[in-house]
């Protein structure tokens, strides 16, 4: 790459030809503000519609101000990012954006983490001289996502996530002029579109246009209801990100503090989704081995590869977009749902609690989990296995609201029996983690020999699609891993064309896996944050005395006391599911 040099403010900068001004500036530590620009470096995808015009800079010799996000650096260029002219223009642009933006910041769900609010403050805008017409779009409340397009600033980041990263295509720019907005086709609701509720649009929205459907008030009601037993399960990825909301650096694991906080909030039992993740490995791993053995012995009715089914957004994706392949994914329910099913049968029976008196709450890095709780097949006589799910962000908000000093909380452990877990389940939260956990168990169950090395480095990392061949004592097991639904689509198209070479494929809808979920502290496309969170999970795995799901003593006991063995009739009834064709 050809090197060029240019001057940005006082700094002489060397960069590669083709770099935009905003990138060159950022690499040198000069932050040019922007609202629409988003660079997903890990995915080689950029959102730069140059629509917000906040990043305008002065380039010597040019008549007009230039958008730094879309103007390439040239040799000898002189750029000023904060001249009087630039500051005035930036202020006017902000005033125009604010002229039709609601001013209800005090009660907006994004207040405090809104980039428009932050920039308004930074630019010290204290009045809006233009009082314009306001849009009156109807607010949509879906089980997972709330969409208030009156707050949209047309940055189109959500559209980039939905179309380019996830290839879901639910959201697009529609209408023209003042009526322009971002919407599913025909002005439909998200619930009536192919939306998977992955929440990646929420993860990047700079303003309050896209937020999660917040269930914390319902939770407070239940916690204060003396007739209810309220128990909680926490997903693996939550512990690796919750700390960020309390000033810990990304990648700080706060498992023990989280358990203490949940106890202080008044949950009767603090359990762990990780327990159910170990259970998932038992069921899914056994299913993989059964299908693999049948296939290898020539059974033509068995299809390979087996696809994982832990991720509800991914389940939605194939139900809408690949209805011809509903028989390929594993029938195993997600860990969240396995937990709910066991809690509301085995545990209630053991404790002598009536199903109706038990509330199962999950803390998830995910917005699709909110929707998943409501799927009809996961309930009995209208009583859901998991009552509702709240996100990592909502939990952080609740801890702050309850005046709990999170940073100085002591560490504590989860309750038993549904809180015991192995290292294999902790890594479920990172892309490749489910595969690695499954390999640890499948290898030992298949070969009957102990695994020499537990770390499968080749399935780790943030590469979009990972492939590995694992020697199962003579048999070469080929595995594939994709995170981000756009990558998943590539592997699915291979299967559709009959070109897939894999025996097992793990798919997670969100970039990085659950650690980058739509319910986590907003990642806003920053892959360094994802990397740090994933490291935290692998670190926790290493520190666990037990690191293989089938060695979890409470899982062994659960099978002895209640389920019999993996894939038993009872296990099928409680821990497996079926899929629906949702294509139109």
């Amino acid at each position: 790459m050809e090197k060029i040099s240019l001057q940005i403010d006082q700094h002489q900068i060397e960069t590669e030809r083709g770099t935009t001004i905003i990138e060159a500036a950022r690499k040198s530590g000069i932050e040019i503000p922007a609202l629409c620009y988003m660079n997903l470096e890990g995915m080689c995808i950029k959102n730069q519609p140059s629509s917000c015009r906040i990043c305008v800079v002065e380039v010597e010799g040019r008549r007009n101000l230039a958008p730094a996000c879309a103007t390439k650096c040239e040799n000898g260029m002189k750029v000023r990012t904060s001249s009087m002219r630039v500051l005035n223009a930036r202020k006017t642009v902000m005033e125009l954006i604010l002229s039709d933006h609601p001013h209800d910041c005090l009660i907006c769900a994004k207040s405090g983490s809104c980039q428009l609010q932050g920039l308004t403050n930074k630019l010290r805008i204290r009045e809006v001289p233009f009082e314009g017409e306001r849009n009156r779009f109807e607010k949509e409340v879906s089980p997972s996502i709330i969409r208030d397009m009156n707050k949209c600033i047309y940055c189109r980041r959500c559209e980039t996530m939905c179309n380019d990263v996830q290839t879901v295509g639910a959201l697009g720019a529609v209408n023209r002029g003042f009526d322009a907005t971002i919407s599913p086709a025909f002005g439909n609701k998200l619930s009536d579109s192919e939306c998977t509720f992955c929440g990646q649009c929420v993860a990047v929205c700079p303003v309050g246009a896209l937020t999660e459907n917040d269930y914390t008030n319902r939770l407070i009601d239940d916690l204060n209801n003396p007739r209810k037993t309220v128990i909680v399960q926490t997903a693996p990825a939550v512990r690796a990100a919750l700390g960020e909301e309390f000033g810990f650096a990304p990648g700080t694991s706060v498992t023990g503090k989280m358990a203490s906080a949940l106890r202080e909030l008044g949950f009767d039992k603090v359990f762990d989704t990780d327990f159910a993740a170990d259970l998932t490995i038992m069921e899914e791993g056994s299913e993989v081995l059964a299908r693999l053995n049948a296939f290898l012995s020539g059974d033509k009715s068995v299809k390979l590869p087996v696809l994982t089914s832990c991720c509800p957004a991914w389940v939605n994706f194939f139900e809408y977009q690949f209805p011809d392949m509903l028989d390929i994914p594993s029938t195993a329910r997600s860990p969240q749902q396995m937990f709910g099913a066991i809690a509301k049968t085995w545990w209630t029976e053991k404790m002598g609690i009536k199903r109706e008196d038990l509330t199962v709450v999950s803390i998830m890095p995910c917005l699709a989990k909110k929707y998943e709780c409501g799927r009809e097949e996961f309930s009995e006589n209208g009583n859901p296995d998991v009552d509702y799910s709240i996100s990592t962000r909502e939990l952080a908000g609740l801890i702050k609201r309850a005046n709990i000093d999170f940073r100085s909380l002591p560490d504590s452990d989860f309750d038993n029996p549904l809180g015991e877990s192995t290292g294999a389940s902790v890594i479920f939260g990172a892309t490749g983690g489910v595969m690695e956990a499954a390999l640890r168990t499948a290898y030992e169950l298949h070969t009957g020999m102990p695994l020499a090395k537990l770390d499968f480095e080749e399935v780790r990392g943030l590469q979009g699609i990972k492939r590995a061949v694992v020697d199962m004592n003579g048999f070469e097991l080929k595995v594939g891993i994709a995170h981000g639904l756009g990558n998943a689509r590539k592997l699915l198209n291979e299967i559709r064309r009959g070109e897939s070479v894999y025996h097992v494929i793990e798919i997670m809808a969100c970039p990085g896996g659950c650690i980058g979920g739509g319910g986590q502290p907003l990642h806003r496309g920053n892959s360094a944050v994802l990397k740090a969170r994933s490291n935290a999970l692998y670190e926790e795995d290493r520190s666990k005395p037990l690191r293989k799901s089938h060695e979890n003593p409470y899982i062994i006991k659960l099978y002895e006391d209640f389920l019999g063995k993996p894939l038993s009739e009872k296990a099928h009834h409680l821990l497996h599911t079926h899929y629906f064709n949702k294509s139109k």
Binding site: G169, G172, A173, V174, R176, P184, A185, F186
Partner: protein
């Protein structure tokens, strides 16, 4: 919106149009033009078929349809009426003519009468400013129209 069943022969023609254009995403606007000629408008179903054939999300197709004012998702009347609101026609009183059409047909711009006979639109200049104000009904041009003429024009087509 009521469920509309598209006649199979027209659906076949639509598929042929897509194929003619190589099922290419870049041909979307051309395909929609022809589809609108074929159906008279672009209902949801037509857009879904085009999206499927081109392998693109239907939200993208709808984005294009809702952006360009030429495309319509409402069926046009048997006799589409267009009142010119270009500068010349406007200063010579075309707004009062448009109001008269609205009053007599009891519809707004962009709407169609319940019997499907008339639809009402405005347009910008048909290049016959000497005849201002101008009204088009289908291909027929009426010049120097006054509000009093409107009823007579409608009667011609009833």
């Amino acid at each position: 919106m009521p469920e509309i069943k598209l006649p199979q022969n027209k659906v076949d023609q639509l598929l042929a149009i897509c194929k003619e254009h190589g099922n290419q995403e870049g041909e979307l606007i051309n395909i929609l033009h022809k589809a609108q000629q074929l159906f008279g408008y672009l209902p949801d179903k037509v857009q879904c078929i085009v999206a499927k054939e081109l392998g693109i999300p239907v939200s993208k197709v709808y984005g294009v349809v809702s952006f360009y004012s030429f495309f319509t998702m409402k069926p046009k009347g048997e006799h589409p009426i267009s009142v010119c609101m270009g500068t010349a026609c406007y200063v010579r009183g075309s707004e009062r003519i448009l109001d008269e059409f609205k009053r007599l047909l009891n519809i707004n711009i962009g709407e169609t009468t319940p019997d499907g006979k008339f639809s009402l639109d405005s347009l910008r200049c048909v290049g016959a400013c000497g005849l201002a104000p101008v009204v088009l009904v289908g291909e027929k041009v009426y010049g120097r129209v006054t509000p009093a003429d409107v009823e007579r024009i409608i009667k011609e087509f009833e």
